[in-house]
Symmetry: C2
Subunit: 214 residues, 2 copies
């Protein structure tokens, strides 16, 4: 079993543009980071949609979904909100009644809350940090892998605590100019490139984390 | 004829690590950014060395050299120094008597100076800015292309003035944590991926600049 982070970034290293909001959760220009994936058959299938492009890139996305037995994400990635759940207009998440995960999702938050069961996906709220969320996800994933899906803060903490075996980065050919940086402030490290999938829409690289800071 | 920038960056977007010095011109950890190229036969040949790895990556480097009819670079890339040339211990550049360029090199600097002719390469010092250096390089390049080689500041200015047709980025699987950022402060833009060469040592992507700011 491996624990991997998987995230789309801009050429200048941002996972979201400036001024994220409920209307524009990925900030100004941030939607462009995911243009590569939303056109793929694999992504569309998991989101209940027909059609889309098939091919190696789509199969690769499918493999990522198949290898994932549990997810870890931050509160903002889940709902865009902060503070008590009472005041969060998006407290059941971005994905409606049938989220695309179909595996347990561990949400790192300071605000305690009982698990939220939606069709096919249960969200578990973890208040004692990223390491605890990853440990719980590992227990839940069985033989499959744990995906740390973001945001940047959660991935950075997972890196810093030495919890990641792999980092998968999808780089879109876009400069956002400002926003939320994926790697700003990370300690120096050397990774290994284990797989690269070049496409005209994005460059997908899987890095093995060879040097961790725990 | 095209004008392209060509530069190696870390996964966190730095072209050099922190604290560059004469002893460590690429800053702390910065040498790692060029490990992919110094092992290649094409690079070794241009630097008067035998051996090295052949293959598509080396041929690609050879093509970059062949297509380049003139270079543009910043003062720091040339010598690492600043201020009057009198006080610059590296005033003839990093490359000894026979630099690897074998084409005119236009050095952007505030300090006027007559051209420096070394074996095979003439360095011309340009005091009226990056746009002027690129214009002079275009005149000198004939049918071939102009390569803007760095540093980050010169490439950023070339981008901002709409002088670049292409940006070639070699991303090494290394996190430097701090240093000189390639793209920090650049205005938002969308590029097009025109070519990707994936290798275990670095990911080479050629972007077409589809949106310029002049």
């Amino acid at each position: 079993m491996r624990t991997f982070a998987d995230i789309s970034v801009s050429l200048d290293g941002y996972v979201a543009g400036p001024a994220p909001s409920l209307e524009e959760p990925l900030g100004r220009g941030g939607e462009q980071l995911h243009e590569w994936v939303v056109r793929l058959a694999a992504w569309r299938r998991t989101h209940g949609l027909d059609g889309g492009e098939d091919g190696p890139e789509s199969r690769w996305v499918e493999e990522i979904v198949e290898r994932t037995g549990a997810y870890v994400m931050g509160r903002r990635m889940f709902s865009g909100g902060e503070g008590p759940w009472d005041g969060d207009p998006n407290a059941t998440g971005w994905w409606g009644d049938e989220p695309p995960f179909r595996a347990p999702v561990f949400v790192v938050t300071h605000q305690p809350r009982p698990p939220l069961e939606l069709t096919g996906t249960t969200f578990v709220f973890v208040t004692d940090g990223v390491a605890s969320a990853v440990a719980q996800a590992r227990d839940a994933a069985g033989d499959r892998d744990v995906q740390v899906s973001g945001g940047a803060e959660v991935i950075r903490q997972a890196l810093e605590h030495g919890l990641l075996d792999e980092l998968q980065v999808h780089t879109a050919p876009v400069v956002l100019g400002a926003g939320t940086s994926l790697l700003a402030g990370i300690a120096p490290a050397a990774f290994q490139i284990v797989e690269t999938i070049p496409t005209p829409q994005a460059t997908h690289v899987r890095y093995r984390i060879t040097q961790t800071h725990s």
